[in-house]
Amino acid sequence: MFSIDKVSMSYRSGVFFSGKRHSVLSDISFQWTPGECLGIIGESGSGKSTLGKLLLGIQKPDSGTILWNGKAVTDHKNRRGSISAVFQDYTSSINPFYTVEKALLEPLLHIGASGKPPYPVLDSLLEQVGLDSSCRGKYPHELSGGEAQRVCIARALSTKPQCILFDEAISSLDGSVQMQILELLKELSSTEKMGFIFITHDIGAAAYLCSRLIIMQDGTIREIVHTDQLKSVETSYAKKLLNSVIL
């Protein structure tokens, strides 16, 4: 359960110590319920990734609160193992000096698994995302983009989190691979009862996967709409955004 309440965020701009700030997010409020698949869409620079970082607790908002199951998300003890993420840039999502195995072990070790590496668990994770267990010894540069992204998904799945945040996780892949990964996610959401927060600028993909969409522009939420009522959006920005896809 995520509750985001009146969150604002700004970055310093210009010369250091000048004190000038430009606002990236203002007054964001929404809820995420367990098992839900929530899409966040908006054009480039609308603050989606920044919102993602706040949700993951990597950064603190300037004002407002983000609660994960009723506790502050910025304290990593509150989110240990229950939130995970997959990022956009698959070329830098895995430490170039780590093998797939080591990368998959990192979250497991962090939530306290110890002793011998749980190889059967790793193999079943890889199998779940459609990879062969022979990938375990490979380095990231020996994987294709789609494979690397699948490893990242497997890494996110490894701690069996309640919520996985995808920040443009499929945008840099080509069409057919995108489709495969969307299928995979859809399957996971029904079999594993996991919820997703899916950040993208691709409305088609978001509409395919998500039950609810948040439409963002310039750091504010324009509209929150259920996917089955996409036709009945109210604000002009959302209409424009949808038309540009449908045409």
């Binding site: 970082k53 607790g57 999502s93 895995i94 990368a103």
Partner: protein
């Protein structure tokens, strides 16, 4: 462990490593290795050639060249290495702090580096000597003071490049403390850069120490130091050129060995550069050599 497996794979690295270890050991245990006391003067043996008692001959005061060479390892190699490690350590500390935490830490540290770097190195060293008096240890202190800023800048750039990457973001999301992210995720990837800059400045530091010794500001006669041996031999460069050979070759060998070793460490630590190995095992020699050529180009 890792070192051993690297050595097994790369014969050249093994040669360089053995050579450097031998040099360092000879320097540390100089009194046992040197056949004669380095400052023992035998005027009757001035400029004597190589003999069974004096393997590399005698210099203009009849002192044993080999013994002076071995004692010279201490200031020329050991102390330079110590000063280098100190400045790399300080530079890495500052560079990691600036590149990882960014913000105010970064600005403060980098302005401090700018200030340090805006003085010409030689002038600063001379100033330190002017204040503290001549002597090897003062030159070394001046080196550490001047060089760390340079290392900090380079290491910061390298850290910055990786600290924004998604795998670091993932570890932050897991809640790993900053120190362990730096050690596990940033140090290994920046290590090649650190190795290259430190090995390339090793040579220049040896030469600078020699330069200061020549000016009479560094190590004081009659102590042995390679740069000073070169300078002493310079006055008889045309009549006795062989006297320049011993310290000259020693400097060249040590500097090249350090550079070769850092190169092969870099190659062996980075899995992206190792990629030719498994293919060599599976498919014979030709592909691996072709891959190597591409790496070089």
């Amino acid at each position: 462990m890792k070192l051993l497996s690297i050595m097994r794979r790369d014969k050249w690295a093994a040669v360089c490593f053995t050579f450097l270890s031998a040099v360092i050991a000879a320097g540390i245990f100089a009194p046992w290795f040197a056949p004669h006391p380095p400052e023992e003067v035998h005027m009757e043996l001035r400029f004597a050639g190589a003999s069974w008692t004096y393997w590399l001959g005698n210099d203009h005061l009849g002192r044993c060249v080999l013994s002076r060479l071995i004692y010279g390892i201490r200031p020329s190699v050991l102390w330079v290495l110590a000063a280098l490690s100190a400045s790399v350590a300080i530079g890495a500390f500052a560079g990691f702090a600036a590149g990882y935490f960014r913000g105010k830490t970064d600005v403060l540290l980098m302005r401090l580096c700018d200030v340090m770097l805006s003085f010409p190195g030689y002038v600063m060293t001379l100033a330190v000597i002017g204040i503290m008096g001549p002597g090897l240890e003062h030159i070394l202190i001046a080196f550490v003071l001047m060089k760390w800023a340079w290392f900090a800048r380079i290491i910061r750039t390298s850290v910055l490049q990786y600290s924004n990457s998604d795998y670091v973001r993932f570890s932050k999301m897991l809640g790993l403390p900053g120190v362990s992210i730096m050690i596990r995720h940033l140090l290994p990837v920046t290590l090649p850069d650190i190795l290259v800059v430190s090995s390339s400045s090793f040579g220049s530091m040896i030469l600078q120490i020699s330069g200061f010794s020549f000016l009479g500001l560094g190590i004081q006669a009659p102590n042995a130091e390679w740069g000073m041996m070169l300078n002493e031999a310079r006055s008889v460069m045309f009549s006795k050129p062989e006297l320049m050979l011993a310290p000259g070759i020693a400097i060249v060998l040590v500097v090249s060995a350090v550079n070769f070793l850092s190169d092969s460490f870099q190659r062996m630590l980075d899995p992206r550069l190792m990629s030719s190995r498994p293919i060599r095992l599976k498919q014979g020699f030709s592909i691996s050599t072709r891959l190597k050529e591409r790496e070089v180009a």
